[in-house]
Each structure stands twice: as structure tokens, then as C-alpha cells.
Amino acid sequence: MKIIVFGTLSKNLGWKQKEIPWKKNMTPEEIWEKEINLNFKQVKPALNFEFCDWDAAIPKNSELAFLPPMSGG
């Protein structure tokens, strides 16, 4: 599965996206803690292009995005 990050989150991490192995019952919260774990406030997860909960179930071959506060306009 793919993880993708944006904005200041991407700048802090030094990467934009990465592939990780999918495991049953993994959640966005667990992936955040394992792969990112930065002290960022107000980040929202999005699963397959829709906002999701931190404890959402992740289907195989998903794209999980971590979105820092948005600033359009």
C-alpha cells in the first residue's frame, strides 16, 4: 500500500510518498506512529481519497494520505 504526505509534513519528513507492506487490521493511527510519528497537530488521515477515522480499517492496495491543515484560497 502507499502512504502519501503533503505540505509542511512532507518538508519535515523529507519524502513525499512511500510503499509499505499491507497487514490485516492495521489502522491509520498505527501507520502514523510507526512511519511518521512527528508532533504535528490537526493532521487528518484520508483513505483512498476520502477523509477517514484514525481507527479505520485499511483495504489492500490502498492509498493512505496524511493531510496537515489545509490552506487553500
Binding site: 502519501i4 503533503f6 505540505g7 509542511t8 484520508a46 481519497f49 476520502e50 477523509f51 492509498e63 494520505a65 493531510l67 496537515p68 489545509m70 490552506s71 487553500g72 484560497g73
Partner: protein, 123 residues
């Protein structure tokens, strides 16, 4: 409707309508100076795969709240210079009250929910 556009946005015309009498158009432009510094451009990063879905949801929700004939949401991407248009929100309704109210609501929702991040480049 395609929300995401490459580069800055072009000025838009009022849609043709005989039955609706109120067209509210908001255009957000890049400004300089900002906080005392000259802005060269703003670089907008967009999550392209998500922006259209989320924009359509905002449009559907707005249509549940107000009777709207047409809704326009557009956002530019990449480098946008001062005086160029970064965002357009347009609403066509029968009367002005719902046009102003719905346009403000849509703009606020877009700023909160559309996956867009800006980086101001100053000199």
C-alpha cells in the same frame, strides 16, 4: 465540473440565466506585500486525486441547504503571482440573500476541506 486547474485562473463570465437574478462571484487573488514582505508568488500544492471528490461533496451539501441554479468552484495550482486569481467561488440563485449566504459557506468549506497547501515565497 473540474475544480483543479493548472496555474492561475482566468476571469469568468456570469452564466446565462433568465430565472435566477443573483450571481455572486468571489475571486481570491495573491497579494503583496504580506506581513511587510514582498511576495514573489505562492506555490499551491494540490492532492489532485482527492480534490474533485471533496469539492463535489461540498457542492451537494450546499444544494441541500439552498436552492442554487449553478455553483462554480475553481482553484489554481503551482506558482501564482500577485494579482493573479487563485480561487473562484460563484453562485447563481434566484435572490441575493441565498447567493451571498451560500457563497460564503462554500468558500469557508473549501478553505477547510479542499486538500490544498500554500507556500508563500517572499524576497
Amino acid at each position: 465540473m473540474k475544480i483543479f486547474q493548472k496555474g492561475s485562473l482566468k476571469e469568468t463570465k456570469r452564466p446565462f440565466s433568465k430565472s435566477s437574478g443573483a450571481w455572486v462571484l468571489f475571486e481570491g487573488t495573491v497579494r503583496s506585500p504580506n506581513k511587510g514582505k514582498k511576495v514573489d508568488f505562492i506555490n499551491y500544492e494540490i492532492y489532485e486525486k482527492m480534490i474533485e471528490n471533496e469539492g463535489e461533496k461540498i457542492i451537494e451539501e450546499a444544494r441541500e441547504k439552498w436552492k442554487i441554479e449553478k455553483i462554480l468552484i475553481k482553484h489554481g495550482s503551482g506558482k501564482i503571482k500577485p494579482n493573479e486569481i487563485a480561487i473562484q467561488i460563484g453562485v447563481l440563485t434566484k435572490h441575493r440573500k441565498e447567493a451571498f449566504e451560500s457563497a460564503k459557506w462554500i468558500l469557508d468549506e473549501c478553505k477547510e476541506r479542499l486538500p490544498i497547501w500554500k507556500e508563500e515565497v517572499v524576497s
